[in-house]
Every structure is written in structure tokens, then in C-alpha cells.
Subunit: 609 residues, 2 copies
């Protein structure tokens, strides 16, 4: 049956060997005492919590769902409350919070690893703490000292959970349409009135109090997004009374059924401004960027969960006689074929179409993990590096990678779950086997925190075309440095039985990809001058092309790190899997870049039937 | 909210104008009296039934599901039984059955149209009659006169429903593993014992009796698929007693929750042999090929339902200001942009990413409909044409198209539902809006009746490589004839403001696609001689490439038929949509053919973690 075991070895490989993150920490004052051993211990402990506490209650919670009663109360599925208590007792909410605010002060990279595990183990449960770190960042950066002092300790400890109240029925992707009103009171507080929808964890039974961060509009505020402010609105006031807000219902959803998605009514609730009037979106964006990386980790977690369950299943399930395997050269020599079965047929792992599907899933999971962790590493540098130029460069990388990861990792989480499901045949469609839940749960991540279409527009319009290619150039230089390193390593170990030709192929593939994408981006900028609407029409293709270039970089880095261990089967498997990505997935880059060029293509108007 | 209106005009356009099917009917003795007006009336009537009777109960049935009680009884959702009664009363089960067996004797093309509508309106409900026509074909072709006489009338009238009992826990894709036993009795009957799973409609409350077609093994039968026989096993015996079989439970599934997917136990049940001993798979395949086309129509139905609901929604939902539209030439001049909105923002139909998604859905829905109906037309010719050479040619086309359509249309049904869901944003994830049910329901079609991976293997190994390219050559000649016709029509209407350059582009794109695919298939046959395992590794890519060539043909045919009506906006929209497929979707052909060539690519062995 379905289970989730965090891939600790693969995670540590990326952190320690591919990214060499421990070498960063002594240079970052906030993490100077942190090291590889401590990181390994934290990850192992987190893995134990996820596989033993929250993964086992994932399937039952999907069937049970949340319960709402007309008095506005929400009951979460069996086991959720105990799991939350265990999470708080172990100090996980404080993982990446500043030490001087009661946190453990660990790098955001570790938080990203934790988030990958949590979503893979139980996405529904993970929704409750999902916005906690974002709320922490937002309050820390923008709230008054009094609000910070009052609310941050509870958020750091996990005694209080937090929500992000943005969406209203008429205001989804277009937050400028938000209507919720905030009226200033004589005591400096606000009275908040309005209706919010799709509020994850708007009401539940995990904590006594809940802090809502509410996007709202002060009197006489201008229309549109410039008139938005942000308010902190707690469920319980300090005198213990209920604030004037309630949960009017929960949604019946496709997945993440353990997460209460609430309709919230604010009816003159007491709140306090966070940040400047009219700068609510700005304050909220601190939270949203953090949330987007978190959502990307959900996609990666689902892909990993789908892949590891499928990998186990295809070795257990026997069906039919496999055809002779395609002729294999180097790759086959490095890994061992599964054993053939007897009268009951061969393990389906021997069938070529199964091998294609699973190799793709593995190549995506391992390549994307490099990109995601690298971005978290850059985020740590952007926040903590003592050198301003390093901070700026790292921030530029993060700004490009955030929309890419949010869109690409969530799409591959969903599509990967679907591809994996296929390997179970009819069993895949049955709840008991778990994979259909992964498919349903993973689907939401393509939508929330900005749909993947919005991410593509952000990448293309704000990031790629927004600074005349400055940030892109810097990131592609970083990628090119890896290609050079790969080529150099290939030369250096010329006689090695394992790595030589392989690394050279990774170097070439990455170099070609960088050249092609750079040319494509430059041409797009040209086209945009004459036809400013065109980039929006092809933003999704640009994002896919950019993702493939980034993956080519991730696969090359992974292969180069693994090639340092010739003759070791586990490392050899990493190179084989990265090589699958390079040979079978990267060719799509040319198609995507072809679609980005106008070439006489038009975009029809859609006529109502 | 979600609704389904059969696209009658688009359907009639394909039947009458694109395929000119009415010209066939006078040449087919069984349908000599049938004509375009009658076909239109039948389709309109079927559409009315689907949109008024079964589509309205689709959403509630998903929430309610089926109920099983330990006495083996299954209760279907509210309204299912009444809808079945209405369906039978209107004579729909008999639509394509022979007139001399009580049927209406209509072309299978009409049955395909009916199946598209039924699945689009309510896939769960449609599962009950889903295998009826296949059972009819199987019994008609293989059963003894006595069995035919006893059971066919009830199946034709719909008084009795039918199942296909193949799968056992250890025997999914590999039917050679089937263990269910059949012991011959002195009276010529069989005693059937064994367990079957995933039996759609194995038990329900729609009809009194149910006829099970059971794959089983006679004593001393050889191992593997050559030892399989087929038995007819009714739920009720002719003396009114219950046969020794029961439903031991129903599956909790991802979708099609109104359909009871049963675990069936046969415990010495009385049955009768259909066809020869050891030829069960052969008899079953009659049913299975019919079922595969039916499943393809489910995929098309889901895509159509998703597309038409999305098309309506994107004109209603306002959000944000749309960027200036990409410069448009011919296409924009033929269709009209939606009206801009006011302060509440523009209809999202104006946003370029939305237009990309919906244009793709429309191009696939319209192109695939041409392919599906053309295949049904060929099936009618294969069965009814007086000229043996015509029958053989048509059968060759059907044999190639069946695995393609089953795999491509079901995959695009699911992926199309997911793409459409994205347009609703968060609402798409909520049950109330319907599209998430379409996504869940559509997923099963990629699995049952042979997974899509099995279809790809069938296409490549049995069909493309199985006859030295004979059937492929004949079909590509058919495609090439359309390219020539397109080019000729383009010349003929040189001065026409609408069609000329467009048709020439369709001709060129189709010619290029045919040349490229022919070369790819020839090279694959070469490679297969040295490396017989390679085709299985790339079967999925071959299928996708073949599908794109076929779509290029469908889009060209559709455009040529529409170009006969210059200046008419409805027809112009067909050309624009087909042009979108040609310009934005067809480029993937080159990628797929590139992946089919070995080029040093390898396929890793998957190592257990």
C-alpha cells in the first residue's frame, strides 16, 4: 500500500555534494554554527516525524474530510490535532525563525527540505502550518513593534496558526477588485468587514487562536491594487472574547480534504494595520514569495511520493513476459536489471514502457530537487550574506527561479502522479492504493498562490523582459560555469571507466541549451517591441523552455557530483537518471523555443458557441 | 454551473460536410434507406435525451455514489433507474443492432455519436449500457443459435444489461493468467468458479437480469491465453432462481462514482460456452475492439464537455485588464474579439494565456471528432460494403486507428479537462463547478480496455511493424489524397478572400507530416531488425507522432469543408481553429519523431531505492 519514506540519502546528496551548501554556512553569520552533521540530524528527525506521524493518517483523512457545523466550528480528521501537538512539541514551526525571536535560526534550505517531506507525507495536514512561515516573515518585516511582540512568539512556537485572507468571489487573480473594508477606530485599531473565500485553515480545532492577515481597503482608498492595505485580525481578542468573524462554510473539494477551505465573514472584526496604508500588497508579497517556494516544494513532494511508491510497485507486480531489452551501452553496464519472474510473468519493471515512465519521473524528481534546493540556498544567501553584491546576485536568481519552480514543480507533481497512477492499471483508480489521492491532492498546487499561468506571465513580463536581460544573464552565466566545470571534470578523469564520456555529454547538452535559450530570449525581447502582446501568448512555452535549461543545469551538477564516486552503484544510478533527463526530456527545448517565435502564428479569438 | 449541450451543428458538419457520410449509405445495403435528414433527427433526439435526462443527474450521482449491502445488492444513485427506463423506452439500446434481430439497424457512425454524447453527459451512468453493444456483437458472432435466440432480444431491447468479466487480481493486462474454472456438465452447460474484479455493472438495480461474459479455463486447458474460453453466465436462471454468483463489494474510486465497479464471486455458477473452447480471447476481442472505440468516444466527450463549459465561463468571468492582443492577420479578421469589460475587468477570454488554452482544446476537440467519426465510417464500410476490397481497405484503416484513438482521445480527455479546470482558478477545484468531476471521471479511460501503453504497443508491434507497412501505406495514401484535394481547392478558389492561403498551408503541413512520419516508420522498422526491443521503448512517441499526422489530416479536411462557405462566421471559426492545431500543435511531430530514433539514447534499468 501507499507509504512515504523521505529519501534522506538523495536529499543529503544534493545538499552536501551537489550544492556544497555546508560550505556556505560559515560565511552566513546567522548560520555560522550550523554544519553538515547537524543538517543531517535535523533532516533525519524531520523524516521520522513525517513517515511515522503524518503520512500514516493521510489516506483516512482523505475519506473522512473536515466537518463544518452551522455554529461555525470546523473539526479536522482523526489524528490531525495530535499530530499538530507533536509537531509543536518538537519545535518544528520554529525551524527557520530567528533565534532572537525564539526560533531555531536554521537555513531556509532546511525549511524547504522539511516542506518537501511534509507535503509528500500529508498535503492536507500540511496546509495548516503551510502559511506560518510566510506570516512570520510578513509580520516580522512590516508590523509595528507592538504587534510583533504580541503575535510573533505564538507563531514561532506554533501555539497560534495563521491564514492569508486575499481572495473574494470577484477578486481571484485580480486582487485589485478586493472590497473588504477597514474603518479606523479612535484607539488606533480597525474594524474589518467583508467576505473572503478559499481561506485555508480559516477555522479548525488545532489551535485555540488563529491570526488572519486580511487584505482590505481603508476609507477613501483609491480603486485597484494601490488602495489595498493589510490587517492582522485574530480569531480571539486579548480579553478572551470572540472577534466578530466566523466561518460560514467549507468547500467540497477535489483533494486535500483534510484541509478546511473556509468561507470567512468579517463583520466589524477588530484588527490592526500591518505596514503602511495602501501598501498591503507589498506587505503581502513578502508572504507570497515565501508561499510560492513552499508550493513548489509541494509539487516536488508529490512527485517524489508518486515515484517511490511506483518504483516499489513495479518490482512487486508481475504481468506478462517482457520483450528483450533495448540494447544498452554504458548505462546498462552500471546498473542491474531486475530479476525475471517465473510462470506468473516478469516484474512490470522489465517492460520498456514502464521503464520510460519511471525513468522520466526519477529524472524530474532528482533534477528538480537540485533546482529547488539551489534556490533555497540562494534565498539564504540573499538574506544573510555579508556581501551586498552577493546578496543582490542571489536575489536575482531567486526572483527568476520562484515563478519557474512554482509552475514547473507543481505541474510535474500532478502530471507525474498521473503517469505513476498508470503503472497500477485499474488499481491506480481505487482509493485504497493511494496514488489517486496523490493525483487529486497535487492538482491544487497548480492553482493557488497565483495560477501557473500567472507565474509564466510574471517570469516573462516582469523578470525576463523587465530588466533588459540582466538577471537572466547572471543566472545563465552561473549555468555556463557548471558546463565548464563539467567539461573540465570530464577531461580530468579521462581514463575513468565511469564518468568521462558522460560528463562531456552533460557539458555539451547544457552549453547548447544555454545558447539556444539566450537567443530565444533575445528574439522575444525584439518581438515584444513591435508586438507587446506576444510575450503573454507564449509565456507558458518560455517558462517550459527556461525550466528545461535549468534542468539541464541540475542534471549536469548532479552527474558531476556523482562522478566523484566511480564504481559505486548508488552514485552510478544518479548519473544514469540524469542522463535520461538529458537524452529524453531535454529535446523538448527546441519545440518550446520554436513555439515562442511568431513565425506567422496567430492566436484566435474564442467565439462563444 | 456545469452543463452539457451536445454540439449538434459541429457533429452534423463532420458527418455531412467533412466526411460526406450520407453518400456512403446508399452503397451499404444495410443502411440503404438511411439519409442525412434521418441522421440529423436521430442525433437531435439523442442530444435531447442526454442534455435533459442524464446530464442533469451527473453531479449529484458523483456525490451520492453507489451503495453495496452485504447481501450483495447494489443501489445506483438517485435518478439512474428512471433514466435507464427512459433510455430503453426510447429504443436507444437497439440503435445499431441489426433490424432482423429487433434493432434499428443504424450505422455504427451514429452509435459513435451517441456514445460521445452519453459519456460527455454522464460517464458514470453510461458505464451500464457501455458494454451492451460489444456483448451484442460478441454473442451474435460467436454464440450458438440457442444462446443467441435466448439472450440477444433482451440485450437489443435493453431489458437485460451485460458485463465483461476478464480481470482477476493476478490477471490485468496479462489475461493469460486468468484462473477462473469452467467444468462441463452432462447437460452441456458449464459450472463456473472463480473471482473477478473491476467488473463494471456486475450488480445494480437497473435491470432484473444481467448477462456476464466470463473469461475462464476448461479442465486440462493449456496455460496462458490459448487456454482461455468464454462463457455466458446470467445472474438469473430461466426458472427464476439466482445463479451461484454474487457481488462481494464495490470499489471506492477516484471517479465515475455512479458506476458500480464490482468484485464478483462465481461459485459453481451455471453458464454456457460462447464459441470454441480455447478461443475465448478471440471471441472476447470482437467485444473489446468495439469497446475500445467506445472508450475513445468517452475521451472525446469529456474534452467536448470541458471545452464548452470553459468557453462559456471565460466569457462570463471578468478579472484584470487584458494586455493588447497579439497582432493578428487573417484569423482576427474572420472572428470578432469579445467585448471588453468595465471597472470589474475584462472577460478572461481576452487574456492571451486563456486564449492559448482554449484554442488548443477546441482544435483537439474538432480535429479528433473528424478522426473518430471517420473511423466509425470505415467500420461501417468494413462491415457492410458489398465490395470485398473496400471492406478490407476500410478494416485496415480501423485496425490502425483503434489503438490510436483509444490512447490519444482518452489522454486528451483527461489533460484537456485539467487544462480547462485551470481556467476556473480555485473554483475549478471545488465540486460544485463540475469540471473537477470531469477530470476525475475522464482518468479511468486511459486505463481500462487495455491501458494506453498497451494500445501503443499494439499500434507499433502488431499494426505498424506487423505487415511490413501495408496498412500504414494505405492510410497515408488516404491522407495524401486529402492534401492533394486541399491544394486543388486552394488553387480553385484563388481569389477567395477567405480560403486560399489557408488551404494551401493546410496542404503543405499535411504533406510534410506524411513524409516525415513515413520516413520515421521506415527507419523504426530498420532499427527493429537489429534491436527488437527498441520499438517498445518508443511506442508512446510513435503513437503521439501518428496521432499528430492523423490530426493534420483531420484539420485539413475540416478546413476544406468549411472553406466552401466563404464569409460565414461559423465556418470561418472552424478554419481558424483547425489552423491553430496546424500552427501550434503539429510542431510537436518533429520532437516525437526525434525521440523515436535511437541516436545513442538508452533506457535505464530502474533500481529499487
Amino acid at each position: 500500500m501507499w507509504s512515504y519514506e523521505p529519501p534522506l540519502r538523495a536529499m543529503r546528496f544534493v545538499i552536501d555534494e551537489v550544492l556544497d551548501a555546508p560550505a556556505d554556512w560559515p560565511r552566513l553569520p546567522a548560520h555560522a554554527d550550523f554544519d553538515a552533521d547537524t543538517a543531517a540530524a535535523v533532516i533525519a528527525e524531520a523524516g521520522k516525524f513525517v513517515s511515522e506521524v503524518i503520512a500514516p493518517i493521510n489516506g483516512a483523512a482523505d475519506l473522512e474530510g473536515c466537518k463544518w457545523t452551522p455554529d461555525g466550528k470546523v473539526t479536522t480528521p482523526a489524528g490531525y490535532r495530535d499530530a499538530w501537538r507533536a509537531y509543536v512539541d518538537a519545535g518544528w514551526p520554529a525551524l527557520a525563525c530567528d533565534a532572537d525571536l525564539g526560533g531555531q535560526g536554521l537555513p531556509l534550505l532546511l525549511n524547504a527540505v522539511l516542506n518537501e517531506m511534509l507535503a509528500a507525507g500529508n498535503h492536507g495536514w500540511t496546509m495548516y502550518p503551510g502559511l506560518l512561515h510566510g506570516a512570520y516573515e510578513c509580520i516580522k518585516a512590516h508590523a509595528s513593534p507592538a504587534l510583533r511582540e504580541r503575535w510573533l512568539p505564538g507563531i514561532v512556537s506554533g501555539e497560534t496558526l495563521a491564514t492569508m485572507c486575499l481572495t473574494e468571489p470577484q477578486a481571484g487573480s485580480d486582487l485589485g477588485q478586493v472590497r473588504t473594508r477597514a474603518e479606523p477606530q479612535a484607539d488606533g485599531s480597525l474594524r474589518i468587514s467583508g467576505n473572503k473565500i478559499f481561506i485555508s485553515g480559516g477555522e479548525h480545532d488545532l489551535t485555540d487562536n488563529i491570526v488572519h492577515l486580511v487584505l482590505c481597503r481603508l476609507p477613501d482608498a483609491p480603486a485597484g491594487s494601490k488602495g489595498l492595505s493589510l490587517a492582522l485580525v485574530p480569531k480571539l481578542l486579548d480579553d478572551g472574547s470572540r472577534n466578530a468573524l466566523r466561518c460560514d462554510g467549507i468547500e467540497k473539494k477535489m483533494g486535500i480534504k483534510g484541509s478546511a477551505t473556509c468561507v470567512m465573514a468579517f463583520e466589524g472584526a477588530t484588527g490592526w494595520l500591518i505596514g503602511e496604508p495602501g501598501r498591503g500588497l507589498n506587505a503581502m508579497f513578502v508572504m507570497m514569495n515565501s508561499a510560492r517556494l513552499h508550493v513548489a516544494m509541494q509539487g516536488l513532494g508529490h512527485l517524489e511520493a508518486a515515484t517511490q511508491n511506483a518504483l516499489r510497485y513495479v518490482h512487486e507486480r508481475t504481468q506478462g513476459k517482457a520483450r528483450p531489452a533495448p540494447a544498452n551501452g554504458l548505462a546498462a553496464s552500471m546498473t542491474v536489471a531486475p530479476q525475471r519472474g517465473g510462470a506468473a510473468g516478469d516484474p512490470i519493471a522489465l517492460h520498456a514502457p514502464v521503464r520510460r515512465i519511471l525513468s522520466r519521473l526519477q529524472a524530474l524528481a532528482e533534477g528538480q530537487r537540485v533546482l529547488a534546493y539551489a534556490t533555497a540556498q540562494w534565498l539564504d544567501r540573499a538574506e544573510q550574506h555579508p556581501d551586498a553584491a552577493e546578496r543582490e546576485k542571489a536575489l536575482g536568481h531567486v526572483e527568476l527561479m520562484t515563478p519557474l519552480l512554482k509552475a514547473m514543480l507543481t505541474e510535474n507533481g500532478f502530471l507525474g502522479a498521473s503517469d505513476a497512477l498508470q503503472l497500477w492499471g485499474g488499481y491506480g483508480y481505487v482509493h485504497e492504493y493511494g496514488i489517486e489521492q496523490t493525483l487529486r491532492d497535487s492538482r491544487i498546487a497548480m492553482i493557488y498562490e497565483g495560477t501557473n499561468e500567472i507565474q509564466a506571465l510574471d517570469l516573462v513580463q516582469r523578470k525576463l523582459l523587465g530588466d533588459e536581460g540582466r538577471r537572466l544573464g547572471a543566472l545563465l552565466d552561473e549555468f555556463a560555469a557548471e558546463a565548464a566545470a563539467c567539461r573540465a571534470a570530464s577531461e580530468a578523469c579521462d581514463r575513468d571507466a565511469l564518468g568521462t564520456p558522460v560528463l562531456r555529454e552533460f557539458a555539451t547538452a547544457l552549453e547548447d541549451a544555454i545558447v539556444a535559450f539566450r537567443a530565444g530570449a533575445e528574439e522575444l525581447a525584439q518581438v515584444a517591441r513591435d508586438d507587446p502582446g506576444w510575450p503573454a501568448a507564449v509565456a507558458g512555452d518560455v517558462l517550459k523552455a527556461f525550466g528545461l535549461v535549468a534542468l539541464a543545469w541540475g542534471w549536469a551538477r548532479s552527474a558531476r557530483a556523482a562522478a566523484r564516486h566511480p564504481g559505486d552503484a548508488w552514485y552510478a544510478q544518479r548519473i544514469v537518471i540524469a542522463g535520461h533527463g538529458r537524452d529524453w526530456l531535454l529535446p523538448e527545448l527546441r519545440l518550446r523555443l520554436e513555439l515562442v517565435r511568431p513565425c506567422g502564428r496567430e492566436l484566435p479569438w474564442l467565439v462563444k458557441a
